[in-house]
Symmetry: C2
């Protein structure tokens, strides 16, 4: 039974993850977290000092989840641009489909407090400029070799991220506007894993 034990601490973190990610810091009440965890609100303060402490733990975890896989693909060597795009698209859509509120959470919290991005980015050893540069250089080489149409690396990068991330960020709007249910939406995202890569490659190949 020891393996099956879920400690109160874990229950709190699990619940805080759900609630913070769905509602954001400002709209979350500690009472919501306690209810979600099925525990008394006081226990939050016993295990973690205060709301902000719990939030910081959650944010770090989710921040890592959001960025880490992408940065690994950035760093990967000896991969063609097209394959890199395919990997990025597949990874982003797969990850965000599993965690539909994650992108909106990271974006809104960073918008409210841009310092978070610098702080946790540094903490995780990310150096955005270097990594972005590696992608931009790869694109520049392909443009120079005339294997793809002229495009700035940073514009292409924005296009890739947009096509993967936006549908999940805007999911609540899309569900209503397109009148689809959760199941159909999942199928559409599944379909995008293939189609978006090809869409991008068709857009840039000569």
């Amino acid at each position: 039974m020891i393996l099956a034990e879920i400690t109160t601490e874990e229950r709190i973190l699990e619940a805080a993850m759900k609630v913070f990610t769905r509602r954001g810091f400002a709209a979350t009440r500690t009472e919501d977290i306690a209810k979600e965890a099925g525990i008394n609100r006081t226990l939050l303060h016993y295990y973690f000092r205060d709301k902000q402490t719990i939030f910081n733990l959650i944010f770090e975890t989710r921040f890592k989840e959001f960025f880490k896989g992408l940065f690994l693909i950035f760093e990967a060597d000896n991969i063609s641009l097209f394959d890199k795009i395919r990997r990025m698209v597949d990874h982003e859509i797969t990850m965000l489909t599993k965690h539909p509120d994650l992108a909106r959470f990271i974006i809104t919290e960073v918008a409210h407090n841009p310092q978070l991005l610098i702080e946790y980015g540094t903490k995780l050893g990310m150096n955005p400029r270097v990594l972005k540069q590696s992608f931009e250089d790869l694109v520049a080489r392909e443009v120079n070799d005339k294997t793809i149409k002229p495009i700035e690396g940073r514009q292409l990068l924005m296009n890739i991220m947009s096509l993967c991330i936006y549908p999940l960020v805007a999911k609540p709007i899309i569900l209503t506007m397109m009148n689809v249910d959760e199941r159909t939406f999942s199928q559409m995202m599944e379909q995008r894993k293939e189609e978006v890569s090809e869409f991008i490659i068709n857009a840039i190949k000569k």
Copy 2:
């Protein structure tokens, strides 16, 4: 001097627009709005009953701003698919560059309360399904005529919206990650007005 008069009521609405759009309902304090307007907090309650009342007024205005132009383009007849795409892209990027926090505001508030989309959509006489259908039919015809590669209308629509809206939604992240200043960012968005249309058209044309 009468024309130059700005009433207290207008000042409050102007301030509320800024603060709500930047911070969202939950993170906004009425004190923030009062400070931004340069007035006493009590006056908010004199002119408008409470925080929620002000928010509703602001949300309706901003909701209209976000959706209206797009729906007019949807409805426009006798325009080729490619031209419709060009118009949508130009309109969305122009509008969102002017109001950089608007998309994030609409998305997060709707995510917290999906009923808003139905309520205000109906109020403004939008019927998303019909309008989306008109676009999907147009795409289906072009696919059928073999003038463009096979693609579902709703996937194409998502791609268009993604490429226009995401960079503005994620602006706070992009500024840091790409190490660009406000001015450079504006230039990048200006550049996108042309490039995104061509990117999409290249992706789907035969």
